[in-house]
């Protein structure tokens, strides 16, 4: 069994607790207008070209060229087929760092659970090695897919983009019915959950209160994080030859603080 992944990021500190290594899986069922990982959208491998890095070495014009030959490292291949056995050593390499910081491994994407069988096997092996596991998911996956990884996942990093269905469709191209159902399901099983809400001006800023209301009765939400939208991904769209329609307006620090306060100032369940 192989998965298609596009990046392994070490010393990831904002993808769950402690120092983590995050594995990014290729392919996503949603099309969020603000997506900052456009290289993770397609299920197929994609070549990108970072023109500013090109040193005109001419290697790419030679026969039998692969991106590995590019001397300027301007051509990059996003997407690599890999087995669990191949991947595991990369993840175990930094175990000392996980252990000394309360960290571990996070599966992300794209949407990692679109390759749920692989994830389940990988997570199982990570647990066998005593490594803390997190699954970062958009929630737009089948219940079966979730069931496969639940036994081996210590915490779900669960994205919520909107509460209102029409807003969700406008932002991501899909309904959020399954997403909300899956979240309730995970909560009912007592799994640890951290909610992550991208805050994107002109798109979902009116949803924060509604999300808070929805989350309030839940029992296992360990934290809610409001993540400020940023547009750093612009150059990736260009390099991939994709159209860059990223929103222009960035949130202010004040807005983020205010939104974050919705999840801490109320005397409801847990944090908020």
């Amino acid at each position: 069994m192989k998965a298609n992944i596009f990046e392994i990021k070490r010393f990831a500190v904002h993808d769950g607790d402690g120092i983590r290594t995050t594995v990014f899986f290729k392919g996503c069922p949603l099309r969020c207008v603000w997506c900052h990982n456009p290289e993770g959208l397609s299920f197929e491998a994609q070549e990108a070209f970072y023109a500013h890095k090109c040193i005109n070495c001419g290697k790419c014009k030679e026969e039998g060229f692969t991106v590995l030959d590019c001397l300027g490292e301007a051509r990059v291949l996003y997407g690599k087929e890999i087995t669990v056995d191949e991947l595991l050593p990369f993840l175990i390499e930094d175990k000392d760092f996980y252990d000394n910081s309360g960290g571990g491994v996070t599966l992300s994407g794209g949407e990692c659970l679109m390759q749920a069988d692989f994830c389940a096997e990988l997570l199982k092996r990570l647990k066998e090695n005593g490594i803390h596991t997190a699954v970062d998911t958009c929630g737009f996956v089948s219940k079966e897919a979730l069931d496969k990884v639940i036994p081996y996942t210590d915490i779900f990093l669960y994205d919520l983009k909107a509460y209102d269905e029409d807003v969700h469709i406008k932002c991501t191209g899909q309904s959020n019915k399954i997403i909300l159902q899956n979240l309730l399901y995970l909560d009912s099983l007592g799994k640890s959950i951290e909610i992550r809400i991208p805050y994107v001006p002109n798109f979902n800023t009116d949803q924060i209160e509604k999300i808070a209301d929805f989350l309030r009765p839940l029992k296992n939400i360990k934290a809610v994080r409001v993540l400020p939208y940023h547009n750093f991904a612009g150059s990736k769209y260009t390099a991939l030859g994709m159209e860059n329609n990223l929103p222009e307006t960035l949130p202010t620090d004040e807005e983020i603080k205010r939104a974050q306060r919705c999840f801490s100032s109320r005397n409801g369940n847990l944090d908020f």
Partner: protein, 714 residues
């Protein structure tokens, strides 16, 4: 605090010209004194010179400050020592010429070390000047059958310490001094410091006089939170001092050293375990860091010792200072350092009481005369020597061994080892020889009075009076070296794309006509710093080889040599003198720094780098090793970030790292600072064992930081 007036106090000193004679007149008197005491020891002459300068030099008082120390007599004793040393060096002139050639070509350097000392500041604070004198008298009286030499030692030390005592009295009577300050100075001239303020004043005046007037580089104030704690506690408990007033006092104290602009910055040490194994970190440790951070200065610099027992809250306080831009700290791992000290012969209790000298060189407090800067060998240059049959490429001079033709990888490795052994042997022999003449130029009656073993034995620190009389030798740029060796292995001996000599010609031509090959080598995934065994094994093999050559070898003062594995900023100057290296480096470019990867080549980030570095047994580098980190602000932002930052430090130390320091910044900020320096005057960077303002660095150093910052993953 009136920071402007205080900060400018050393820019233009208003000497009280009525109070004494000019430096020129003083120096004339010194010449006469030297003649008058021609028959006496250098130690005695030095003490008398010191006494003369403090008695007759002009003084200056700054009323706005709460500490006084100034006398107009800088450099006179340094010139005296130079005269003496130049004469002493005549005795081993031939050796000196060889070493000079090696230094000029960037092969290895070796020098006498009069620049690294540490004195027992705890003894100073507890006993005061009078107590130190009494201690000398007591020790003298206990020696049966005292020799002339010992008597001379005690005389000299007593003269030197009394000179400081009288000088405090002199300052207390100076015009313009505040009543409180006058009382403080008078008290310390008569008895041991009786409160926190007096304890700080005695350190200030001692340091200034020893460093600037006597010309001894005092390379640490010791474990300041330990040294000062008793008196601090007593004053707080009696109500004489509040936490806030203590902090204000500390600010004047710290700012004083800042204004002195001590070369390479003056360090002191906080935290870690004491001789009894209990943690030293206390209320004062926090207070000192807080005061320091609020002042926003980068000198003095602070060594933070970290044991299993050091409170996380203290380490996080320091980490948050670094994150906030005040990076003048280095963390040192107690576990590995204590192990390293014990490998050099110290007992457990002694080893636990180590301090850090200068940048990050461990030495035993009170018991060691740490000559921690005797020179270095440039490992990448050894590759040049093998390609050039022992010659410096630029000048053609023979600086190494003629290792001849290289026909196999095994040949290559043994030729490298031969070059290294030759250079280290030459250097250590030179240093050991020079050391036999130290007493002809650099006896130190002040220092010796502040090291217990010297006082007890009646023997000068530079005459083997300390319990540990060790010297040091460094290896330089292990990453450039390992990357280059593996490049040769692959290209010449595995893929056989060139013969050894053909590849040598390409390097000698500085890659001309072979730019694609150079890029291929530079981009190779076989780079130190990425947890790749085939490269890291070379670093391990050679660091071990060098450590064995250096460690334990006897020096010229009854001690041993201790190995170091760091470059400080010599990676730039040595790089300038080194031809192109097989790792894709052009001639003249910087070599790798400290334990770091070649700039920009640690593509796995900080975790991969640490995994590589800790494959070496760093307890085999008892004279220190250091890893620099550059982290992106986003990686350490918020509580998560601070915890991760702490996690990195903990992991490095658990895995056997010795010292770690670094910077948190993003490449964009640095680029802007390079373009518009006037807007970034306050941007500090951790350079080596010291900090600097980014805008004051050379272009090449700035570029290195930018490149490093670009590689950090955000």
């Amino acid at each position: 605090m009136m920071r402007d007036i205080l900060n400018d106090q050393y820019k233009e000193i208003c000497w009280d010209t009525e109070s004494g004679i000019t430096p020129e007149a003083l120096e004339q008197e010194v010449f006469e004194l030297e003649k008058r005491f021609e028959s006496r020891s250098k130690s005695f002459i030095k003490a008398k010179t010191f006494e003369l300068l403090l008695e007759k030099g002009q003084i200056a008082v700054l009323r706005e400050d709460i500490f006084q120390e100034k006398v107009n007599a800088r450099n006179i004793m340094i010139r005296q020592r130079s005269r003496w040393w130049n004469k002493a060096r005549e005795n081993f002139k031939d050796m000196y010429e060889d070493v000079e050639k090696a230094g000029r070509t960037g092969t290895f350097v070796a020098y006498e070390d009069f620049g690294h000392t540490s004195s027992n500041t705890k003894m100073l604070v507890n006993l005061g000047f009078c107590g130190l004198i009494k201690q000398l008298e007591d020790a003298e009286s206990k020696i049966d059958g005292i020799t002339e030499k010992q008597k001379d030692f005690y005389d000299s030390s007593k003269i030197a310490i009394s000179a400081m005592q009288s000088f405090c009295k002199r300052l207390s009577l100076a015009d313009g001094i505040t009543e409180e300050n006058a009382r403080c100075l008078k008290n310390i001239s008569e008895k041991a410091p009786s409160n926190f303020y007096e304890a700080l004043q005695i350190i200030v005046v001692y340091f200034y006089l020893h460093e600037y007037i006597a010309g001894t580089r005092v390379r640490t104030l010791g474990r300041l939170d330990d040294v000062l704690y008793q008196t601090y506690r007593k004053d707080i408990d009696s109500g004489l001092l509040s936490r806030e007033s203590a902090k204000e006092c500390l600010k004047y104290f710290l700012n004083k050293f800042w204004t002195m602009k001590v070369p390479y910055d003056l360090p002191f040490c906080l935290g870690g375990i004491g001789a009894d194994g209990e943690e030293i970190t206390n209320e004062l440790s926090y207070l000192i860091v807080e005061a320091y951070n609020e002042l926003n200065i980068h000198s003095p610099k602070i060594h933070i010792r970290v044991s299993d027992k050091t409170p996380g809250s203290f380490i996080k306080l320091v980490l948050s200072c670094i994150r906030g831009g005040n990076s003048s700290f280095v963390f040192v791992n107690d576990a590995i350092t204590i192990k390293a000290m014990m490998k050099c012969g110290a007992t457990l209790e002694e080893a636990r009481n180590y301090v850090l000298i200068g940048c990050y060189e461990p030495a035993i407090f009170d018991l060691e005369l740490p000559c921690t800067g005797n020179g270095r060998v440039s490992l990448p240059k050894m590759i040049e020597l093998v390609f050039c049959n022992g010659r410096d490429f630029a000048t053609g001079e023979l600086v190494g061994v003629e290792t001849g033709a290289i026909n196999s990888y095994a040949d290559f490795i043994s030729a490298l080892k031969e070059q290294i052994a030759y250079c280290i042997n030459k250097a250590l022999t030179y240093i050991s020889t020079a050391e036999k003449y130290y007493m002809q130029a650099n006896p130190d009656p002040i220092l010796s009075a502040m090291l217990s073993p010297c006082v007890k034995k009646g023997t000068d620190a530079y005459d083997g009076g300390a319990k540990y009389n060790n010297s040091s030798y460094y290896i330089n740029s292990i990453a450039t070296f390992a990357d280059s060796v593996v490049a040769v292995k692959k290209l010449v001996f595995e893929e056989k794309r060139f013969t050894f000599d053909e590849f040598g010609s390409i390097l000698k031509a500085n890659w001309q006509g072979y730019e694609k090959l150079r890029i291929e080598m530079a981009n190779s995934t076989l780079k130190y710093g990425n947890n790749v065994d085939s490269v890291d094994d070379i670093a391990v093999e050679f660091s071990d080889f060098c450590a064995k050559l250096i460690n334990g070898r006897t020096n010229g003062r009854g001690g041993i040599f201790k190995a170091s594995n760091f470059s400080i900023d010599k990676c730039f100057s040595l790089g300038e003198k080194t031809m192109a290296t097989p790792d894709g480096r052009y001639a003249g470019e910087p070599l790798s720094k400290n334990l770091c990867a070649t700039t920009g080549k640690d593509k796995k980030g900080i975790t991969g780098l640490i995994n590589t570095v800790t494959k070496m047994d760093l307890s085999d580098f008892p004279n220190g090793s250091v890893l620099d980190f550059v982290l992106h602000p986003s990686a350490v932002s918020g509580d998560d970030g601070l915890n991760a930052f702490y996690g990195i430090l903990k992991t490095y130390f658990k895995k056997g790292g010795m010292a770690m320091h670094g910077n948190v910044f993003d490449s964009e900020t640095l680029k802007k600072a390079q373009k518009e320096p006037e807007k970034y005057k306050n941007l500090q960077v951790r350079v080596c064992g010291w900090n600097a303002y980014f805008v004051n660095l050379s272009k090449s150093e700035q570029d290195c930081f930018i490149k490093q910052a670009e590689t950090t993953i955000c």
